[in-house]
């Protein structure tokens, strides 16, 4: 394991920003630290970098406990949430700063900075100041600056947060490619689930200062281990009484059920349905066009659920009565979560 956090605790005043954090990261992996705002992501990153000291626990990098090594000696690259570029230095000087501090050879510095500017598509901007750059360019300068001193670990705090949606998409894939190419172990923070799923090799999910789950994007999405993770991904609808939908096993002590849009089949009354007998009737309350599909808010069994229909399917209207069939849902008890399949699916497969 390349980076390891063992029983890390950190409090600000009486607020527990990190609550017994344990995880480890393999060399060369790109890790996404995902969680809602205030869940302690930045705190974890800052402790790894040495900008913050844990109250207890060990941080191990490359087999060495680094708790007492100052930030300046850890050899970690850090891209700040707001980039923190040196605003009184040109782009060139920003990128060269770390190498100048290391008293590297002039020629080497020049070559390295030019190489990085080329890599990050910043050629020709060397003489500009950060205030004369676009958001995306600033992001790339911050990235190049962090990479210049050849760090063996790169930490990125919401690297795309300040960038508009379109450029963000491009930068995401660019960053992933870049990091893969350089083979540098990286941890990036985000509160955007799509970003984490798309970019990360592995996702660590934080909530209220704790780690909820760690795993591959597919795994955390499909097999949530806690009720928080189950309700974090997708566009979950939370319902109190799942037994009001047909054909689900009655598990005792269940508090809530979570339904994702892809768990729901919405059929018009005149459409052929396989599971008509297990469907519930609902009324469409609102319709939103989402580009690739249509998002529906449906009132059914006295609650609301979000569902989707493809653009190729027949049109539906607000106020229309439709049949709702739920393929599966997550049920939660405390922090535990379980996936329940609709029994008619199971029975169906038995018949065949």
């Amino acid at each position: 394991m390349y980076v390891e956090l063992k029983n890390i605790n950190k409090t600000y005043g009486d607020y527990k920003a990190s609550d017994n954090i344990n995880f480890s990261i393999e060399k060369g992996k790109l890790i996404g630290l995902l969680g809602p705002s205030g869940s302690g992501k930045t705190t974890i990153l800052r402790m790894i970098a040495g900008l913050e000291t844990p109250d207890s626990g060990d941080i191990i990098i490359d087999g060495e406990i680094v708790n007492n090594i100052p930030a300046s000696k850890r050899g970690i690259g850090f891209v700040f949430q707001n980039y923190a570029l040196f605003r009184y230095m040109t782009v060139y000087d920003n990128i060269a700063f770390g190498l100048k501090v290391q008293k590297a050879d002039k020629k080497y510095i020049d070559d390295k900075v030019n190489e990085l500017m080329k890599l990050t598509a910043l050629e020709g901007l060397g003489k500009r100041y950060p205030s004369q750059l676009s958001g995306g360019q600033r992001q790339r300068v911050a990235f190049a600056r962090a990479l210049a001193p050849n760090p063996h670990l790169l930490l990125l705090d919401e690297p795309f947060a300040a960038i508009d949606a379109k450029v963000r998409q491009e930068l995401r894939s660019w960053l992933k490619e870049m990091i893969e190419k350089l083979g540098i172990t990286s941890i990036f923070v985000t509160h955007d689930q799509d970003e984490a799923i798309e970019v990360a090799d592995e996702i660590i999910i934080t909530n209220k200062g704790r780690i909820e789950q760690k795993g591959s994007p597919v795994n955390v999405y499909q097999n949530p281990e806690t009720s928080f993770v189950a309700s974090f991904f997708g566009q979950p609808s939370t319902i109190d009484d799942y037994m009001s939908f047909h054909s689900f096993e009655d598990v005792s002590g269940i508090e809530k059920a979570i339904i994702r849009p892809e768990f729901v089949k919405v059929s018009k009354k005149d459409e052929v349905q396989r599971f008509k007998s297990s469907a519930s009737e609902g009324v469409i309350e609102s319709i939103a066009f989402r580009g690739a599909n249509i998002e529906l808010k449906i009132k059914v069994n006295d609650t609301h659920i979000i569902a989707k229909r493809g653009l190729d399917e027949k049109e539906v209207h607000v106020g229309e009565k439709v049949d709702i069939f739920i393929y599966r849902l997550f049920v939660t008890k405390g922090n535990e979560v379980r996936l329940l399949e609709n029994k008619s699916l199971v029975d169906d497969s038995l018949v065949i």
Partner: protein, 271 residues
């Protein structure tokens, strides 16, 4: 609509006129009189007053006290502003309140404080005598008083700038392996440069004009412990009006120079 606009432009000019009148009566008129009075009896008398041996020594002492105060307060101001904005510690509020005391306490009281601390009635006095240090009625007293009275000026200019600046850039530099001094020189200093210069200008202006605290500690020894403001007061009290105004004009000239410097700094910094 049109009437409204006329009315507002009337108000505008009225306000501008009142301000101009006020400035004229309160500021330009007195300053003009100082200059006029000092030249009333001709250039020769003016030159004689200005080149008088006691005047020259007063100018030199004023410069000495001002330069010392600026140097001491620049160093202190930088440290204080740095500590207050970059570290979290207990008693931070208290320190930042204490820094303001010299501007809130009357300079006369400051003078009395040092009098009690270093004067004959003080418990420190025997030790100071043993070490042959005299503070009261001597140059060190004047310098101490000037430093005290002007010490908030530089830190007060720096603190807001450092506060809005935050610590991100410094952290970024530290992560790249830079040491404290490099960080200050390369990252923090460019940011506070203009505020620092501005603070120095204010500090200089205030130090040059300091009267109250210095007056108490000086003892008015001509040629020894008289600063310019004190010298002017003595001349005035001796009914030597022309020399008093002539010497005042030196102080006015120095103040105007500082003002010009200030405007230049402001203009450059805004760019």
């Amino acid at each position: 609509m049109d009437g409204k606009r006329k009315e507002s432009s009337l108000v505008k000019w009225l306000l501008i006129d009142i301000s101009a009148l006020f400035l004229g009566v309160m500021l330009l008129l007195p300053l003009g009189i100082v200059i006029w009075q000092s030249f009333k009896q001709g250039i020769a008398v003016y030159m004689k007053a200005v080149t008088d041996k006691y005047t020259v020594s007063a100018v030199l002492l004023t410069i000495e006290a001002t330069v010392t105060a600026v140097i001491v307060n620049t160093v202190f101001g930088l440290f204080a502003a740095w500590c207050i904005t970059k570290f979290k510690f207990k008693g931070k509020k208290l320190i930042s309140t204490l820094i303001d005391i010299p501007v809130t306490v009357s300079p006369v009281i400051a003078g009395l404080m040092f009098m009690l601390l270093y004067g004959k009635q003080s418990a420190l006095y025997p030790y100071l005598q043993k070490m042959h240090i005299s503070v009261v009625f001597a140059v060190p007293g004047i310098i101490i008083a000037t430093v005290f009275v002007t010490f908030p000026f530089i830190s007060r200019e720096l603190i807001p700038v450092l506060e809005t600046h935050g610590t991100d850039e410094e952290e970024a530099a530290a992560l790249m392996g830079a040491g404290g001094f490099t960080i200050f020189r390369k990252v923090t200093f460019p940011h506070i440069k203009w505020a620092l210069l501005y603070g120095i200008v204010l500090c200089t202006a205030r130090a040059m004009g300091e009267f109250g605290a210095v007056s108490i500690l000086s003892g008015h020894l001509r040629g020894k412990t008289n600063t310019l403001p004190l010298h002017i007061e003595i001349l005035f009290n001796e009914f030597q009006y022309v020399p008093a105004f002539a010497v005042s004009s030196i102080l006015v000239a120095m103040a105007v120079m500082i003002l010009v410097l200030r405007s230049v700094i402001e203009a450059v910094a805004r760019r």
